[in-house]
């Protein structure tokens, strides 16, 4: 299977692009005006598009080729224009609760996120790529309120001296494997943190509380999920 994934900085799309499977060839790239060029040059059999990046070009492409190509539409946002129209020609996946959308379960790329048994440092990573503002509990454990060795990762929006850069998924696995514990503001990266054998800390009123209750729920790999939705 030859799969083309529209480039998008998001946990699901980034991990989907890193699938390693003997029968799947994946290309992840920007489209911007070149979708038909990609179609005629490389002839992929499956395409993954992102709802928030929908353009007239993609819209037209889906209308034209939905019978000969498998098209997966990832609903990262509620886009009424998409949901009511061309979504009927696609395999719809997302985190939204809707009858026509296959809900993305807890997924992990287990060939990237595993315990590498490396030496671990005092630094505490905290992933903030999916938030736009830092909440009170998190701010209460950051400088200048506290001097914990917390490193914030992944946000280009938040200006804070502890926000020290962007991470790829492979870098995230490296960071988790080189840290004793990880500060979590929600459960988005819970499977990755647990798979790397990293302790979980939660911010609470200026302190870091160890969370021993979070456990790995049933997880699927991204490759298993992709094959399942294509066969459904």
């Amino acid at each position: 299977m030859k799969l083309f994934i529209q480039e998008f900085d998001d946990k699901f799309i980034s991990n989907l692009s890193l699938i390693e499977h003997p029968n799947i060839v994946i290309v992840n790239d920007d489209i911007s005006g070149n979708l038909y060029g990609i179609h005629y040059k490389y002839n992929f059999d499956t395409y993954v598009f992102v709802s928030s990046l929908m353009t007239n070009e993609i819209y037209q492409y889906i209308l034209e080729f939905h019978k000969s190509k498998r098209i997966i539409l990832y609903h990262d946002i509620v886009n009424d224009q998409v949901l009511g129209t061309i979504s009927q020609f696609c395999i719809n996946v997302g985190t939204l609760d809707s009858n026509n959308i296959i809900k993305i379960p807890t997924l992990i790329n287990d060939h990237i996120f595993f315990n590498m048994n490396k030496q671990r440092s005092k630094h505490i990573p905290c992933f903030i790529d999916h938030v736009e503002i830092l909440d009170e509990d998190l701010l209460s454990v950051l400088y200048p309120n506290k001097k914990f060795n917390i490193r914030l990762f992944g946000s280009s929006l938040i200006r804070h001296p502890q926000n020290i850069g962007l991470l790829s998924e492979k870098d995230r696995a490296e960071v988790l494997n080189s840290s004793e514990s990880c500060l979590m503001i929600d459960d988005l990266y819970l499977p990755e943190v647990l798979s790397c054998g990293t302790k979980i800390l939660r911010p609470k009123e200026g302190n870091l509380i160890e969370d021993k209750n979070s456990i790995m729920t049933n997880t699927e790999t991204y490759a298993q999920f992709l094959i399942r939705i294509l066969q459904s």
């Binding site: 400088y143 200048p144 926000n163 850069g165």
Partner: protein, 151 residues
């Protein structure tokens, strides 16, 4: 006695900071007569006002001893200088807050074993201590008195 020391300055302008760096270099030379100390710079008129030995920047890679560094390009350049024992970075800012880059970029610069940090202020000291490594000390004005015990 301090180790042989190179002061690496890509830019030297007629500013308080540049003059302070050169003045401190001169004091280090005067107070350590048996140590080889020089400034590495491509060209600057400001150096003429201070009696310090000057070598071209391109010679820094052949220097054997410690280096004092003031900016990110110098940190990147000097990373592969094989004769340098220790690099002292005078941290006066947090560059990762000004330029959003991949973590690997900053990690390659600051997670370096032969790098010591001298902070300009208590705030800079705290942030480098939290994010990277504990600085060796604080020098607000890069004067000889505040630097001499840190090298």
């Amino acid at each position: 006695m301090i180790a042989d020391l190179g002061v690496m300055c890509i830019k030297l302008e007629n500013t308080t900071t540049s003059n302070s760096i050169l003045k401190t270099a001169k004091s280090l030379i005067d107070n350590n007569p048996y140590t080889q100390i020089c400034v590495f710079n491509s060209y600057s008129d400001v150096v003429n006002n201070h009696s310090v030995p000057l070598l071209h920047l391109s010679q820094a890679k052949f220097f054997s001893g410690n280096l004092i560094i003031f900016d990110i390009p110098s940190l990147i350049l000097s990373k592969n200088f094989i004769n340098i024992s220790n690099r002292f970075y005078y941290a006066h800012e947090t560059p990762w807050t000004q330029h959003v880059m991949p973590f690997k970029y900053w990690s390659d610069i600051f997670d370096s074993e032969n790098l010591s940090i001298i902070a300009k202020s208590q705030q800079i000291y705290d942030i480098y201590d939290i994010c990277w490594k504990k600085p060796v000390g604080i020098s607000e004005d890069f004067s000889y008195e505040t630097i001499k015990d840190l090298l």
